[in-house]
Amino acid sequence: MNRETAVHVPMEVEELETEPITLNIGPQHPSTHGVFRMKVQLQGETIVALEPILGYLHRCQEKLAEGHTYLQSIPYTDRLDYICSMTNNHAYVLAVEKLAGIEVPRRAECIRVIMDELTRLLNHALAVGFLLNDMGAWLTPVQYGLREREKILDLFEMASGSRMMCNYMRFGGVAHDLPEGFMPLLRKVVAEFPGFIDEYERFLTTNEILLSRCKYVGILPPDRAIAYGVTGPVLRASGVPYDVRKVDRYSLYGEIDFDVPIGTVGDVYDRYLVRIYEMRQSVRILEQAIRMLEETPPGDIQSKVPRSLKPPIGEAYGRIESPKGELGFYLVSDGSEKPYRWRVRAPSFVNLTPLEEMCRGHKVADIVLILGSIDITMAEVDR
């Protein structure tokens, strides 16, 4: 429907008088990735200002953890970013291992890398699917992603006992060794995944609706991204190839060869494509990690750590590249078995800071798109 046939406006009226309205995109909303509230000031359909209101899922996990021992906090880290529980566990045990000076045997490191990259595949498949759900492609791309996720969740269930709240990593290694039947299934998943990514790209990447809705929407220039402390695929889509796996070389990432996909413009389309390319790189890392696991002689999967860990007095900041960005744990120990200060540096929380800047000037329908492209989990934002 073009403007000439819509409404006949007499030539004397130049502009319609409009008043700004405040729209509340309330905490219960199917597209806000959790309980997230935004107060949006609109001029017509164009966004003038946006104020995010958080705290609907605040459980004060930082205070809870001060009453638990270090080991008892591991199930709570599962519930921070509930989609990627393995990487949450890994970041926490990395911080405690830095604090207490615990070494990790090589077999356990290989298993950790495999679990981390499987989590990255899980998260990106879901993120891309839900980005398209937000766009209106009601659940078809989600179901393609969920089909692949089911295979990986079966792997997690075999290894750790639970699909989502894995509670798998321990200080100095992992909780249990991989069961029989894990490796053949893992090889099958890794062999079939590139075909799935190609199929996903075939029906999404050049789709006209996606191109017209995603291109040049929600642009975040690289210097603003660095200033706001944004990390993860959002930062890399803006053109800055900062990846904690390459910088810190924690676990076995120093020995693994992989590339870092970056975007040029920093819009929603770049973030979507960066996630697709990161899935391909994760498959590449998985192939190398499987080979490293097979070459490692069978051995311990956890170094000897006292049941009730009492780290020396001090502090540590351990960070990893979780699928959403840089996930860090800052721990202060006073020598007892409970932490003095337990802090989560959540990537979704910091990535959400430039939301207003990205949304200003766009239409209301673009808000859910931009929010979906940042890929947040409210449990991590609110902790």
Binding site: Y317, V332, R345
Partner: protein, 163 residues
């Protein structure tokens, strides 16, 4: 940071900043700063040393010593980005830990949002849960708890009220 990088950084800072602006902590990579020189040291670190990525702002409540401590973790992102391109970073990558201590009776710290906007929401969170005020923050109000709430839960002397 390697030991050599830390020693070189420390010497550069000692030459460039006035005496007494900062003190080295007991561990490598830790700098203690007085609240009044926080912005000065921060601007030097951002503009001259290239620590452009503020990763984490945390508050710690040292009840026994009667002080609050605000801890900042700084990294160099533009230098770190060179690693993925296969180039040499050419300088320390971090982490550089900045610590500021203020007395518990008057917990006021200058805000670093003018230098690193990533502190916008993280400082609001520290204010909400610990009660440390950040001077110069454009929008200092509670972020998680509702505005009429009066106490600060992460403090060590917090006692939940029975409703």
């Amino acid at each position: 940071m390697t030991d050599a990088e830390w020693i070189a950084l420390r010497d550069r800072m000692a030459r460039a900043l006035p005496a007494g602006a900062f003190e080295e902590g007991p561990a490598d990579g830790v700098i203690h700063v007085q609240p009044r020189s926080l912005l000065y040291v921060g601007r030097y670190l951002l503009e001259t040393e290239g620590f452009d990525y503020l990763s984490n702002v945390t508050g710690v409540d040292w009840l026994a010593e009667g002080e609050f401590e605000v801890v900042y973790h700084l990294y160099a992102m533009r230098r770190g980005a060179r690693i993925a391109r296969g180039e040499d970073p050419g300088g320390p990558l971090g982490p550089l830990v900045l610590k500021v201590r203020v007395p518990r009776e008057r917990p006021v710290v200058p805000s670093v949002t003018s230098l690193w906007p990533s502190a916008l929401w993280q400082e609001r969170e520290v204010y909400d849960l610990m009660g440390i005020r950040f001077e110069g923050h454009p929008d200092l109000r509670r972020i998680y708890l509702w505005d009429e709430y009066e106490d600060h839960p992460l403090r060590k002397d917090y006692a939940p009220k029975e409703d």
